[in-house]
Symmetry: D2
């Protein structure tokens, strides 16, 4: 597989009861929340949360998202959300691969594209601390 | 029963697929959303939405909520949320009774207690337009 | 613009207070809920809800979603979700365009790809009533 | 204060961006999710998750909830949800006290009342493993 976990930031997260739908599987819209929680965990891990609301007026505004669902995930699964991130000029792209037990194959893959925005929802240049960190991140060519 | 629908404001709302949990019934936390949506529909019906965010800086801040679950509600049920409201000095109390098909007995009852707050989260006196409307609302003694 | 509203099914939906985030705009994950609600409204409009859970054991399982965010939407906006749908062999594709007041330009565009699944999460052939309806749906080539 | 943290089970949980509303504070309906997540964490801590869906057909059905909001909580707050639980014949009562930084005073207090239900939504007697555990739990008289 084109996936080597050591090239990714990893965020772990238990599926909650209310996140599964009447089929007993995680509802598809929850995956965008898993992606967002992983982004925030990455920001904190890289000591960048000071750049982001509520610590500053900036946010990672969302330009687009996509998600492929490969297998279902279930209540109380301990998900592993693997993340990579790169800069595309003014934009920041995140890529996600989610595994559920027994962690053999991904349950979902996704992407999201962002710009930094201020509280007036205007696009701003990514702050230096962010771009400096992004230069050091791994992005696997696929 | 102690319930006469003509003494209540009525808000109708279809249960969505994602609002039911793995038991196939509406998840209990969703009822607080049904209550809030009914409050907002009432505000609009009474032409009071101009008092409330985003049309003003004020919101109906929530001091407390409670909900009793009497029967389950199911995906695609067309709920009827019946609401009454009264003023308690600086506070505003809402009471809710929710019916699902076949609308014979309530599926839930609830209450919420509010104060008007500004964007700095400070309690403010209820605006005149609100208190004047509240004087005309029906509140059934039980 | 490549958009003629009369070629689309239209679902209307008010943005609720809890659907906006601290920036005051609709949170991006909510758009997948708007898409789902529009799909269900379309199913009901086409008298196909009998094919779908909870009226049958089948569901429109989600293979993938994507969403582009073009402009923000705000609390209490009356959204119009425009939808088209087509069959791709075993799959069913939905396309969405969402407008908010003043309804001049879309706030979001999206797609979702589905298969019919049974309660054991096995893919099943789309039922006849569904495929017959899909043959009559408009799909605008772009 | 009538609160001694060592008499409570403690569950920690970061507030996510999407859980705050346009006022920048945690939306009141989220607290019922915090309560539920704390119950599940307690079940797991007491090695009782085998009694509960998806490991068995039983769930802790919700009869009622209540929540008092004492102070706001904010995005990225690391909440501490303190929980006590006791048996009331066929019912199980949970009590919650939530603290946010700087953990001086509670931001919320709440209660929920439950019965064990099977997948047909019928009330069942609490399983032995549960009642035995409940006998050993601390419940502070207030």
């Amino acid at each position: 597989m084109d996936f080597d976990s050591k090239d990714y930031f990893c965020f772990e997260r238990r599926v909650q009861f209310s996140e599964a739908d009447p089929m007993g599987v995680v509802h598809h819209a929850q995956y965008l929340h898993f992606f967002e929680e992983a982004r925030i965990a990455w920001l904190m891990d890289r000591k960048l949360e000071g750049l982001h609301y509520p610590n500053s007026e900036l946010v990672l505004g969302v330009l687009s998202t996509e998600c492929q669902h490969l297998k279902p995930a279930f209540v109380f699964d301990e998900l592993k959300v693997f993340l990579q991130v790169r800069r595309l000029r003014l934009k920041v792209e995140f890529r996600y691969v989610i595994f559920a037990p027994p962690y053999q194959e991904p349950v979902a893959r996704g992407k999201s594209l962002h710009v930094m925005m201020n509280s007036g929802l205007k696009v701003v240049r990514p702050p230096k601390d962010l771009t400096r960190t992004l230069e050091k991140e791994t992005w696997t060519e696929i």
